[in-house]
């Protein structure tokens, strides 16, 4: 495979997404947002594990968090995400609006 074919192959299988951190998760990571590159086919749990690897302090939230992918809630589990380039993934600790 030539290098340009390899790069094209990789880019179809990996996507850059924006991760948004809210509330406790923002305090634990020290970030409001970051861009990461991940496989476009990844489960919600695998994505969380990737984030825990980058930010070990997030582990305290593991049982109390869901994701929001393109502004729809996704629990952590085996659900396959089909991520697109530029997608927004938000970390959603337990809600306390109202």
């Amino acid at each position: 495979m030539f290098i340009h074919e390899y790069r094209a192959h990789i880019s179809t299988r990996f996507k850059q997404v924006s991760v948004l951190y809210f509330a406790k998760s923002a305090e634990l990571t020290g970030l409001k947002a970051e861009n990461i590159t991940v496989p476009s086919n990844i489960t919600s749990l695998q994505l969380w594990q990737d984030l825990e690897n980058r930010h070990p302090r997030l582990s305290v939230l593991r049982d109390q968090v869901v994701l929001a992918v393109r502004q729809e809630y996704v629990p952590l589990g085996a659900q396959l995400l089909t991520l697109r380039q530029g997608d927004e993934v938000a970390i959603i600790p337990p809600l306390s609006g109202g």
Partner: protein, 164 residues
Amino acid sequence: MAADEGQDVITLTTDKLSADGVSESVTCPSCGAISLFIGTTRDNFEGKKVIQLEYEAYNPMAESELRKICSDIRTKWPSVRHISIQHRLGVVPITEASVIIGISSPHRNDSLEAVRYSIDTLKATVPIWKKEIYESGEPCWKENKECLWADGGKDSKVLQDAFH
């Protein structure tokens, strides 16, 4: 003044909320009832004195979830006329309103029930977070018991089922 078509007015703001403003925005000549809910900030939690609250939101998704609530209301209570939901963000001083919901309908039953539904569903689904700052001790991010993934709501099957 309100138009002929039923309006959904969603407001996320750091400004002080106004019950009069919400009431005026849902008034309509054909409606005999306006129901209002005002959520205010308490100065105590479990014996601790709360000196300040801070609210944070995932703004675009909070708006879209609030619009879903409005849409659900119109399906469940078709006679509902106008809906206004205001939520305050940023620092909210004690006793001031953090949320105001106003709903108008021809007769009182529907607007009363729809307001109840609104606040219950908002607490379960809208991505807004509240941090309590105490007189002494560490600040605390609150968790609504209505939220399926809060501590104590860790039944993963319930959670999986809820999103499908």
